[in-house]
Amino acid sequence: MRFDHNIMIHINNLSYRYPDGTLTLEGVDISIDRGEFVAIMGPNGCGKTTLVRHLNALLMPTAGSVSVFGMDTKDMSKVWNIRQTVGMVFQNPQTQFVGTTLEEDVAFGPENLGLPQNEIRKRVDRALLEVRLMEYKTHAPKTLSGGQMQRAAIAGVLAMEPECIVFDEVTSMLDPESRQMILDTIQQLHQSGKTIIYVTQRIEEILPLADRIVSMQDGRIEFMGTPHEYLASVGSHVPAITSLMRKLKEKGFDVRDDVFAVDDAFLEIIKACRMVEKENIDDE
């Protein structure tokens, strides 16, 4: 089979039905480029988790197909290759921490790959440096905070050296500070060339980071496009800053209403105020 090296993941007309009969995904089509940052959003139970679990062959399509770098996830001989290419970080920090110390947990993946001891050591140390947890490496899980455990989970995935990392609501159990730290780490990974798929309920945390936003509803894709297209086309569920700008515009201020960053909004508002001042002076 031929495939384009720039396409990381190709999802073609994917449908999924759980064994108990609930149809959770229906006709999902997405193609994700190498190095892209894709955010997946949508209300509880719309099928985000179900969708991303197809990406490293934890779930198999009921209909349609999913391929990773041209490898079909239904091809049993490619499963380990696919799981090495697409790493996954889950929501609950507790239940994905399998080691009795931090470094043992990070080593879990490379150990499963059967790598020699010195290579495991190298990868573990590199991954721990990257998430800035080196000084905690012999700590037991009960002495780590939720945020540290979640960064440990990222390190555990990094140690397998994946091309693509999926984050399934990884910040939902964390305090704002830890959340920001995780987001910074993810942004760094994206800048270093990794493909990022980020599932979240918080629109404001990914608008500044994502290249593309996928919004789901009842197992279907409802919207797909850039953050600006998202704001232009979606009425509800926008960040507070955007709502503010929309209100200002309604009142006749000449501001763009598709901004979501505080700095951009600030500049827009300042500009509009200057304009108003100038008009007042001209009137006099």
Partner: protein, 258 residues
């Protein structure tokens, strides 16, 4: 259960540096010999060697007393059983109770044996990382044909590490569920049966959920239950061979002298 019971105490001592397999073999041999000992002098010898090893391990004495404490009731029970139920010369009589001198002696010996077993075991766990214990056992049983019953030595090692990791988590969950029930007005003292059933049902559900999440996380990190390597390489050094040689000599001499 007490968190310090049989816990690992990271230190840099000769005992910590020994290969887990050496320590496992030593622990097994010592346990067998302790259970065979019938004289006070023999037990004294073991107690002395324990104190010496504990000193070399640089683990503080508190750790060992934490390992003994939860077993105290058991020790007292064993001692009283022997004291009152052994036939022999009676010390005194109060109603039906007739402690004997023979009972006093056997009771002391048996209780001391169990204490020594616990102490040596806690010395082992204090000086060996939990995962290293698991890896050590894995290496020792790798040649056993477990395939026939559908598991591998790697599965067993992983299961052991996971139990060490998750038993405290599950206990913690149980405690939280209990608090939740109490805060909703369940009187635990007056209705023990009900309190057990209302605690156990959510606990099982919670445990199954944890197991499910864990399995998915492990699978997505390529866990296959087949051959895997380890961050810690087990390597038998000169010290290990020396210790094993010493143990063999002692065992050999013992059978020779008997």
């Amino acid at each position: 259960m007490n968190e310090l019971f049989l816990s690992y105490i990271p230190k840099n001592s000769p005992l910590h540096r020994l290969d887990p397999r050496t320590k496992l073999v030593a622990l097994m041999v010592i346990s067998i010999f302790v259970l065979q000992t019938v004289t006070f002098s023999g037990l004294g010898l073991f107690a002395a060697s324990f104190i010496m090893l504990a000193y070399f391990s640089r683990v503080n004495a508190g750790t060992f007393s934490h390992s003994i404490q939860p077993m105290l009731v058991f020790f007292v029970f064993i001692f009283l059983m022997h004291l009152f139920l052994t036939e022999g010369e009676i010390i005194f009589r109060i109603g039906p109770f007739r402690p004997t001198f023979d009972g006093l002696i056997t009771g002391t010996i048996v209780t001391t044996r169990f204490m020594l077993l616990i102490l040596f075991a806690s010395l082992f766990t204090a000086t060996t990382r939990p995962t290293m214990i698991a890896y050590g056992i894995e290496r020792m049983i790798r040649f056993v044909p477990l395939k026939r019953i559908g598991i591998s030595s790697f599965d067993i090692a992983t299961m052991m590490s996971l139990s060490i990791r998750f038993v405290p988590v599950l206990l913690d969950n149980a405690r939280q569920i209990r608090y939740a029930q109490i805060s909703r007005g369940l009187d635990i003292r007056h209705n023990i049966l009900r309190s057990v059933s209302t605690t156990i049902t959510p606990m099982i559900r919670e445990s199954l959920q944890t197991a499910d999440d864990l399995a998915i996380a492990m699978e997505s990190r390529c866990y296959q239950g087949k051959y895997r390597t380890s961050l810690f390489e087990l390597r038998m050094g000169a010290m290990d061979w020396g210790v094993l040689g010493g143990i063999s000599c002692v065992v050999f001499l013992f059978f020779l002298l008997r």
